[in-house]
Amino acid sequence: MTGRIADLRSELADLCKRVDRRVQIMEVCGTHTVSIFRSGLRSMLPSNLRLISGPGCPVCVTAQRHIDAAIELASRPGVVVATYGDMMRVPGKLGSLEAKRAEGALIRVVNSARTALDLARREPDRPVVFLAVGFETTAPATAATVLEAERDGLQNFSVLMCHKLVVPAMLALLAGEDAAIDGFLCPGHVSVIIGSDAYQPIVSKHAKPCVVAGFEPEQILEGLRAILEQLGAGRAELGNAYRAAVTDAGNRVALELLERVFVPADAPWRALGVIPDSGLDLAAPFERFDALARFEVTLGTDEDHPECLCGEVIQGKAEPVECPSFGNACTPLEPIGPCMVSSEGTCAAWYKYNRPSATTAGPAGAKEARA
C-alpha cells in the first residue's frame, strides 16, 4: 500500500467517525465501479461508509425497447448493424445481438462511431446502422460522424439514438421517495465533456455534495474524502478532485457538437422508465439519419425479467446479492439483466471481484464461474 493511500484511509476513518452515522455515497460511473472493485477499495473503507453504484454503465441503462429495435434492424435483409462490443450480449425480448449474429445477421463490433462510418463508406451499397449508445462521453463522436455523413452526402449511414445524459438521471434518482444518497462521486470521463459545473442543479436543488474524481484508487479516495469533509461540516458543494482532466465548464468543442447535431429528448432508461430530457435526439436538419424513421421501426415496450432487480441495483436501492437471480439464474455466462452483461455493470463487477463469503449467493456462484 502506498503511503498516500494509507494517509487517505486514516483521514477517511476520522471523517467517518466524526459524521457518526451510515453514509451512502453513489459512484455514478461504471468505470469507477470497476476500479473500486478491481482495486479492492471496498474492503478498505470505514464500516459506516457504503458505496452504491449508480446508473453509469451505458449498457446497463439502455432500455430493452432499444435492444429490440436493434435486433429488428439487424433482421432486415442487407442491413449492417454496427455496435460496441458490450451491447452484443444484452438480452432483448427476442434474444441478443450475439445470438442474431450467429444466425447470420450482419452485425459488426466497432470501437467507435468513426469505425461504423468507415464501414458505411467502404460498402456504399449496404445500409449501415450505428447503435449510438453511451453518455456525454461517446455522444460527441456520434455527432461528429453524423456531421461528416451529412457533409459527404453518405446515403447509407444512420444511427439508432440511445444516448443518455447523466445529470437528468441523477436528478430523477433524487426525486424518488426513498432516495438514500448522501453525496455523489461524479464520473471522470463524462465530466471531461460536461464540466464540473454541470452538477450545480444537484447541489442547489437537493443539497447533495458532488465531487468529480479520477479512476485511480488514490483519486477515488480523495473524492470520497472531499465528500465526507462537506458532510461533516454540513455543507453541499461542487468539488473537483480531478483537475488534471476536468474543467469547470467542460469541453467547449464537444458541447457545441452536441448542441449542433442533437436536441434533448425524453428517454427510456432500463428500469427507471422515461426520464424527461435525459436523452438525445437528432436535431431537425439531421433527422434523415434516424434509423428508426428510415427503416420504419417502432419502439416497443420494455418487459424486464420479473425476478431481475437491475432497476433497483441501478438506483442503489438494492445490492446485487439481494436479487434472487444473482449468481443463480443470472451469471456472466447466462446473464438475465444488463448489470450482469456489461463488464462495467454492478452485478458483473460484484460477481467477478467479491469474495463469495461476502455474498448471499455464496460459493456456489463463484464455483460456477470458475467451472
Binding site: E123, G134, P217, S343, P356, A366, R370
Partner: protein, 353 residues
Amino acid sequence: MSSPPSPAPKSGRVVLAHGGGGELMNHLIRDHIVPPLANDVLNALSDGAVLPRPAGRLVFTTDTYVVTPLEFPGGDIGRLAVAGTVNDVAVMGARPQALSMGLVIEEGLPFEVLDRVMASVAATATEAGVAVVTGDTKVIERRRPADEQARAAADGLFINTAGVGTLDPAIQLGLEHIQPGDSVLVNGTIADHGLAVMSLRNGIEFDSPLCSDAAPLNGLIAGLLELGDGVRFLRDATRGGVAGVFADICDHCGLSVEIVEPRVPLSPTARHAAEMLGLDPLNVANEGKVVCVVAAEAAGDVLAAMHRHPLGRNAACIGSITAGTPALVELITRAGGRRIVQRPYGEDLPRIC
C-alpha cells in the same frame, strides 16, 4: 531448385488454383513454403516424416492459429504457430523434437505476406531448435466480397501446428503435485501480446511500442527443469491470461492462490493500454509467458535461473498457494485491498467509454 519460373498470376496473390493439386500447387509449395523451412526430412516431400524412435515417453500436442491481423508488433501468425506449439510441449516438461504445419490459405492472400510469415516460421523454429518436418497446404475460396477482401486481404491465413516431444521419465509435472506453501512465478511482463494485438485492431498508438511477447520458451524451461524436482507445475498463460491458469490451479487442486498485484510484472505501456481498453491485464493473453508453481524452498533458485535467461529477465515471484477455504484466487491489490480473480467469460471486450 530446377523447376521453371513460377506461373503465379501477376496479381502476386494466391488463387484458388494454387490448391488444386496441379503444377500451380507444386510451385506454391516448392517456391514459397518449403525453401524457408528446408531440412532433410521435409525436403523429401513424402506423405509423412520418418523420425528416430526415442526412449521413454512422448508428448504430442496440436493448436490452430487464427489471429487477426496476421502481423503485429513483436510477431506474426507464423511466430505464434511455432512458439505456441513448442510451448505446449515444453510446459509438459518435454523437449520438442519435431513440428508439423498445416496451412489454410484464403485465395487473395498476397505472396509477399505468405513469404514473410514463412520466413518468420523458419526463424522461430531455428530459435526453438526444432524443425518443421511435415505439412499440408489447402487453398479455400474467399469468405468475403472482393471489395472487403481487398481491405482485409491479409486476414486469409490459418495455421495448424502439431508438435511431438520427448519426456524424461524423471520429470513429474502436474496439477496434482501442487501443495500449500508453494510459490507462484512468472517469467516476465504480462498481457503484452493481447494488448499489442487489441491496440492495433483499435487503432490505438502509444509513445513506447507495445510488442507481443510471442517466443518459444523451451530453452528457458529446460534450464528450470535441470534444477531438480522443485518445479511442480508449468503452464503457458495464453488465452484467458494468467488468471486462467490460476483458476485451473484452484479448480483442479481445491487450493487457493494468493497473488500480490504490485509484484506482477507489467510494463507501464501495457498498464496504460489496459486502462484505456477497460481490460484486466490478468485476463489478457500472453504468448511467451509461463506460470510456474515451485516448492517454496526452490523458488529462489528457479527465479535466479529465469533471470539468467533472456526470456526471463523480468521474472518475479508473484504469489503463493494456500490452503485457504473456500478455494479462491485472491489478489492483494496495489492499493492494499483484496479481491478475487476469476476466469473471464469468452473474450473480454473493450469497454464503451
